[in-house]
């Protein structure tokens, strides 16, 4: 289910950046802090926050959000507390989408075990970007622009609706490059699960309802493809 609300836990440089980047894309957004000091610092930084603790009382979350359409970012400064927060949330809400921040790889594994859907290991992320900048500077620049900048070039996911004209066709019959001026990077085969496979593997995949295309292209071309995919059989 597409998330409509987001909650960020913790107040530090990471959680501030997360809050700044996600608060505008959700209908409901809340920043939860653990201490009075954090509450004060957040207030001074211009954030409206709510004070919570790591006890088992999650009624505030249930009152405020529809848990099924909520995404939670666990970004406490202390990794062990962050693991505890993740496992507490998972114990309470089985369906909740949890993104957890980890300082290192060791904590990242623990976050996964604690039930996080996605882990962002900050150390690994920074190291990857630095080595990418040195090894493949142009690729890094282009991908950074595509992923994070609001430029014309973008990467999006398009889910194939049940009655789409694309259903029943084979991947090689659709000329993404020449016809739509976009490039298909990967496809998620709905029947095979949620993992994706790269289009460059060369498989002539049979398109089924709810498959997901991951495509890269200019915004207007992507919109055109989106419309084409959504078009129903006559």
């Amino acid at each position: 289910m597409i998330a409509r609300s987001a909650a960020v836990f913790g107040f530090n440089e990471y959680s501030q950046q997360i809050a700044r980047h996600v608060r505008n894309i959700y209908q409901d957004f809340a920043l939860f802090v653990m201490t009075k000091e954090e509450e004060k610092a957040a207030f001074e930084a211009g954030f409206l926050v709510e004070l919570v603790d790591l006890s088992d009382d999650w009624s505030r979350i249930e009152e405020h959000f529809d848990v099924k359409s909520l995404i939670v970012f666990c970004a406490l400064s202390n990794d062990s507390e962050n693991v505890f927060l993740t496992i507490s949330l998972r114990a309470q809400f089985a369906q909740l989408n949890i993104v957890a921040l980890a300082q290192d790889n060791e904590s990242a594994t623990k976050m996964k075990s604690a039930g996080a859907n996605k882990v962002l290991p900050s150390l690994e992320i920074a190291a990857n970007v630095i080595s990418d900048m040195l090894e493949k500077p142009i690729v890094t620049k282009v991908l950074h622009d595509v992923l994070y900048q609001d430029g014309l070039l973008n990467i999006i996911e398009i889910e194939v609706p049940r009655y789409s004209t694309f259903v029943g066709r084979h991947l090689h019959d659709i000329h993404f490059k020449s016809e739509y001026d976009v490039i298909l990077l990967a496809i998620v085969d709905h029947e095979m699960g949620t993992t994706f496979s790269f289009a460059s593997k060369g498989h002539n995949h049979h398109i089924d309802p709810h498959d997901v295309f991951v495509v890269i292209g200019y915004q207007d071309k992507l919109e055109a493809l989106k419309l084409a995919v959504k078009r129903h059989h006559a």
Partner: protein
């Protein structure tokens, strides 16, 4: 009048670029271990030394041809003598002494004192002449007077000259000289024991007909052989008194050897870190190209872990000895030095222009990174500088310090969170492509002008069509990215194509692009 001529000549030499250049080159060749040609010179001198020793040994039992003897006695000696004179020349700057004296006297309205200048010059030169290494150099020239048979033994001084050319031997001398006082005390102790025991054994044994020790020289020889625990057995005491002396000297001998060993071992132990550091600096100066990382932390560890896959030489500068030790234990090349100090780059002899590909600043604070960046920019304006950015508000300051690219982990996490929130699969796809774990990678292929036709034809070849996606071409000249260009796109030299495919297929595509025929 003579004084005026001397001053004029000194000024002439001082201002002569040819004279300066020759003197500088001579200095570099003889004394500057960083001078690239010095190693060839050292190698040649070592060769001459070994040749001399070989001829000396060969001469003992065989007839040597006259040409060989001439080469040994005259040519090699002459080369060594010229080297000695050159060292004497470069040891001090006599022209500067004359000029300084002249200017000093002029300032005080006195007539130029030639005598004072000559005294200073001679004083400086004598400092060289009486230095241990210069004396060895001079003695090594002695075989030149080969007519005096005894002087031939001086050829062995040529072996001592090896200390000049072999760094490790010089290091050994410096280590031992750090324990000069202890070694001299021990030598004095051993000498006293030898003298006392020699006299005693002589007194006890010389008048005994059964004893072989008849002279004082025999007694000294016996004492030396015994105290150093060799004990040939050719001279043995036969009297009870002599044997008591022997027992005392044997025990003392063990003490002398043990003390000597412990002094030498402790000298090495104390200098071990220094030796290692010097060796490391030597190793780094021999590296052709490397990445220089300033500061060691968990992030440095992660970065090196990734960089090692593409480039094996990475040098770390870390000022904290504990962190440096930690990095060393991980097997990294670490110099325990402050990256923000100019002195560090002077002592470590890092050549930015020739050796360093890029500098990565990974210190714990923006303040430290800015300080280091300014130091490096003082030494080199062009070297690419990358840095971690700890606080977003310092971005401009780092940029002003000359840092080309910055990575702010907090901002990255924020941007990723947004992408993960609404396009999680797309994010995973890009992440996977970057890591290349599944075999599919995103690669850069450098293109050349005139490649357009072949490039676009290859993309349609059955081997690559549907299996290699070309995202676009990055035009280096305009720094713009042309997404999914059509075959009419004109490729210029230095443009870079970005492709997504299996790693092996990418490599195949690159080969075919550069002329390999498709079977």
């Amino acid at each position: 009048m003579l004084g005026r001529w001397v001053v004029a000549f000194a000024f002439f030499l001082h201002s002569s670029t040819v004279y300066r250049r020759v003197k500088n080159s001579t200095y570099n060749l003889l004394e500057n271990s960083n001078y690239p040609y010095k190693k060839y010179f050292d190698f040649m001198m070592i060769l001459l030394i070994f040749l001399s020793v070989y001829i000396l040994i060969r001469q003992v039992k065989h007839e040597m041809s006259l040409s060989w003897l001439f080469f040994n006695n005259y040519i090699i000696s002459l080369i060594f003598f010229i080297e000695y004179l050159l060292r004497l020349w470069i040891y001090s700057d006599s022209t500067k002494v004359v000029i300084d004296q002249y200017e000093h006297d002029l300032f005080l309205h006195r007539p130029f004192s030639l005598g004072k200048s000559l005294k200073t010059i001679v004083k400086h030169k004598l400092e060289f002449v009486f230095s241990a290494s210069a004396m060895v150099d001079l003695l090594a020239v002695m075989p030149f007077f080969h007519e005096f048979r005894l002087l031939r033994v001086f050829i062995l001084f040529r072996v001592l000259k090896l200390f000049r050319y072999a760094k490790s031997l010089r290091r050994l001398i410096s280590i031992l000289s750090s324990k000069k006082f202890e070694l001299l005390t021990l030598a004095l102790f051993a000498m006293i024991i030898i003298i006392v025991s020699s006299v005693l054994i002589y007194v006890m044994e010389a008048n005994n007909p059964a004893s072989k020790i008849n002279t004082l020289f025999d007694a000294v020889y016996w004492s030396v052989v015994t105290i150093f625990t060799v004990g040939y057995g050719d001279f043995v005491p036969v009297t009870h008194e002599g044997r008591v002396v022997a027992m005392v000297i044997i025990v003392s001998g063990i003490a002398v050897i043990s003390f000597a060993t412990s002094i030498i071992v402790s000298a090495f132990t104390e200098k071990l870190d220094e030796i290692k550091e010097e060796k490391l600096i030597d190793d780094v100066s021999k590296l052709e190209r490397f990445y220089l990382i300033c500061g060691y932390s968990s992030l440095t560890h992660e970065v090196i872990h990734r960089l090692k896959k593409i480039f094996k030489h990475i040098v770390i500068l870390e000022k904290d000895p504990l962190k440096a030790k930690e990095a060393q234990s991980e097997g990294f090349i670490v110099l325990n030095a402050d990256p923000s100090s100019l002195y560090t780059y002077h002592t470590t002899q890092i050549q930015f222009e020739e050796q360093v590909i890029a500098v990565i600043l990974l210190e714990d604070s923006d303040v430290a990174n800015i300080y280091t960046a300014l130091t490096i920019r003082e030494l080199n304006k062009k070297i690419p500088l990358y840095s971690i950015l700890h606080h977003h508000e310092n971005r401009k300051k780092l940029s002003l310090a000359g840092i080309d690219e910055m990575v702010n982990p907090h901002l990255l996490v924020g941007l990723m969170s947004r992408r993960i929130s609404h396009q999680p699969i797309a994010f995973d796809v890009i992440h996977e492509l970057r890591l290349g774990h599944g075999g599919t990678v995103i690669e850069e292929i450098v293109l050349d002008s005139g490649m357009s036709k072949r490039f676009f034809e290859l993309l349609l070849h059955p081997l690559f069509h549907q299996r290699l996606s070309m995202l676009g071409i990055y035009q280096n000249r305009t720094q713009t990215f042309a997404f999914n260009p059509d075959p009419s796109y004109e490729i210029l030299a230095g443009d870079v194509a970005i492709v997504v495919a299996n790693k092996a297929l990418c490599s195949e595509f690159r080969d075919h692009l550069h002329g390999k025929k498709i079977k």
